[in-house]
């Protein structure tokens, strides 16, 4: 598959207001996150050439697909875009196999059927390939839609609310599969979602959207360490997100030790094995700060760092403290009173206490504990 960075710039006042500029590198997953009606789908449609904003520039690698200033507008069927629609938009009169074969027009006729079989097998749909969409389950339909999007050998993969219509266990499996695809394909992957769990689980980069405007855009870890994003605070609560590796398993007590750049955390996840890559989220509300090393507390995780920023919290008497622990920027929501009592200020050393129970750990990459999910 072709490699290249996706670069998008869209601007118009109406009828759907848009003001965004972002990029997505090969192998990255950009999650466009925002409330419904914020223009998320319109952005995907603009990339695919199905919608044309007043001012737009869309390019992928060396190919310019849209440039309203230069009068360039490549029609959708000539853009190497794989699009998984929210309702999957499968062709109702064709079988699962037929649906995938439609997108194989660039391949010799003789090999289309076997190629379509292989694509369906790749998304783990080996049975029911002769069935029509209405005879398939929601999860199976999505697999067909995914296989169809991949059939074109796209330079960009676009997913519109890919998990909205499937139940939770199926959702987890599909998320894993998309994560696998990301690593195999090495193309930009843009995902639209209103569910923050998808973001934490899949995204490498996030674009936070509100009424067509980009509120924040950047790598997930950096974005989640910012104390000032009100939208994130209101929608999901503040909390740092970072990647770590399992370095020690304490099977007897059902605990594992996670190492990250800056320290270690102990979490109660007996199902993980050594070497597993995980993504960790530490809710800011569950971080306690101390000015001296604490003794005689139940909390196992004490991280030592320095205060890097203090931001006013959601309520008048609250504050968000950003603590640098190695390269990690940890967020803690505490009272203003606590800030004063501890004498917290940028540059001051501080100890952050994190309850093991409140740490959210998700496996990313590596197939090790998939069976346990």
């Amino acid at each position: 598959m072709r490699e290249g960075r996706l670069a998008v710039s869209l601007r118009q006042a109406g009828p759907i207001p848009l003001d965004v500029e972002f990029g997505c590198g090969a192998g990255d997953v950009l999650a466009i996150f925002g409330p419904s009606g914020s223009g998320k789908t319109t952005i995907l449609r603009s990339i695919a050439g199905l919608y044309r904003p007043a001012h737009a520039r869309v390019s992928c690698g060396a190919d310019v697909w849209t440039d309203t200033d230069a009068g360039i507008d490549v029609p959708p069927h000539r853009r190497a875009v794989g699009f998984v629609f929210q309702d999957y938009a499968l062709f109702p009169h064709l079988t699962a196999l037929g649906n995938v074969m439609v997108a194989l027009g660039h391949r010799p006729r003789a090999e289309r059927a076997s190629r379509a079989e292989a694509l369906l097998a790749r998304v783990h749909l080996r049975e029911h390939t002769a069935r029509r969409p209405h005879q398939l389950s929601g999860g199976e339909r999505q697999r067909v839609a995914l296989a169809r999007a991949l059939a074109r050998e796209p330079a960009v993969l676009l997913l519109d609310e890919p998990f909205a219509a499937v139940d939770r266990p199926v959702r987890r499996r599909l998320q894993d599969e998309i994560d696998d695809l990301r690593r195999d394909l090495a193309i930009p992957l843009v995902l639209v979602t209103h569910d923050f769990e998808d973001v934490v689980r899949l995204a490498t980069h996030v674009l936070v959207l509100d009424q067509g405007r980009s509120v924040a855009c950047g790598p997930l870890t950096a974005l989640m360490s910012r104390p000032d994003l009100e939208f994130l605070r209101d929608a999901v609560g503040l909390g740092s997100v970072f990647d770590a590796t399992v370095v020690e398993v304490d099977a007897g007590r059902g605990l594992v030790h996670l190492a990250f750049d800056g320290g270690r955390l102990v979490v109660p996840r007996g199902d993980l094995s050594i070497g597993t890559s995980v993504r960790v989220r530490v809710p800011a509300r569950d971080v306690i700060l101390a000015s001296t090393p604490p003794h005689g507390v139940s909390v196992q995780n004490v991280l030592t760092g320095t205060v890097s920023a203090i931001h006013p919290g959601p309520a008048r008497d609250e504050a968000v403290v950003q603590v640098a622990v190695g390269s990690l920027l940890l967020l803690a929501e505490v009272t203003r009173d606590a800030v004063d009592r501890l004498g917290l200020a940028p540059g001051r050393p501080v100890h952050a206490l994190v309850k093991s129970m409140s740490i959210d750990v998700r496996v990313v990459g590596g197939a090790t504990p998939r069976a346990a999910q």
């Binding site: 069927h77 794989g82 629609f85 309702d87 938009a89 109702p92 029509r132 209405h134």
Partner: protein
């Protein structure tokens, strides 16, 4: 039983479908998918033959295609005879009278295809023409079939326009409907009865075939 009248009726029905279907698929799809200025005017014009008295329609067709009109003269040189009171004239009149019966069901059929399906087809790399042939037409097929049957059945029963434009020439413009009227006027109730029954059987069989076919086609996509 006037066999030549039956033959004229069937030829007229088949000819009308043959002329109108390509036009109806084109216009129906345009009306279903495009937003352009004057679209409502076109939709209103399409409906005119439905509400206009057939005799009025027939009158204006006669005027339009008459030997003195430029259009009539064009046909005269093309066919070697005048359009009115000929089978060709009847065909043109029938095609115009049937426009709403063909365009409207087809338009509904294309309208029923969700926009996402069209978008998905484009994102699968299909050119507009391939999208039409491989995705849209198969999905709209039941409505195209309905349109064909409606036009055929309506042509068999058309009376006013046929009488105005075609007159009553045996083997040329005398359709079964006209023949029935003709026989009744001559107090030949028996012939009229046979022909009426024939028309009834043909109509019922056609409708039966439609429901059966559309159920089979519909079953593929239900």
């Amino acid at each position: 039983m006037d066999w030549s009248a039956l033959q004229v009726s069937l030829r007229l029905g088949a000819g009308t479908i043959l002329i109108l279907l390509p036009f109806g698929i084109w216009l129906g799809r345009v009306l279903a998918t495009r937003r352009f200025r004057g679209r409502f005017l076109v939709e209103a014009l399409v409906t005119v033959p439905l509400v206009l008295p057939p005799t009025v329609l027939g009158f204006y067709l006669l005027v339009t295609f008459g030997a003195r009109s430029p259009l009539g003269q064009a046909f005269q040189t093309l066919l070697g005879h005048a359009l009115p009171f000929s089978f060709e004239g009847l065909l043109v009149a029938s095609a115009i009278a049937n426009v709403p019966f063909v365009v409207q069901p087809i338009q509904r059929g294309f309208e029923a295809i969700p926009g996402h399906i069209r978008d998905a087809a484009a994102c699968c790399g299909l050119t507009p023409w391939q999208r039409f042939l491989r995705i849209e037409l198969p999905l709209a097929w039941p409505s195209v079939l309905t349109a064909a049957i409606l036009a055929f059945a309506h042509t068999l029963g058309e009376f006013g326009v046929v009488l105005m434009v075609g007159g009553n020439l045996p083997g040329e413009t005398r359709t079964l409907s006209i023949a029935i009227y003709d026989r009744m006027q001559a107090f030949d109730d028996r012939s009229a009865g046979i022909m009426a029954a024939t028309l009834l059987v043909i109509t019922v069989l056609t409708l039966f075939a439609t429901t059966h076919l559309s159920r089979r086609v519909g079953g593929r996509r239900a």
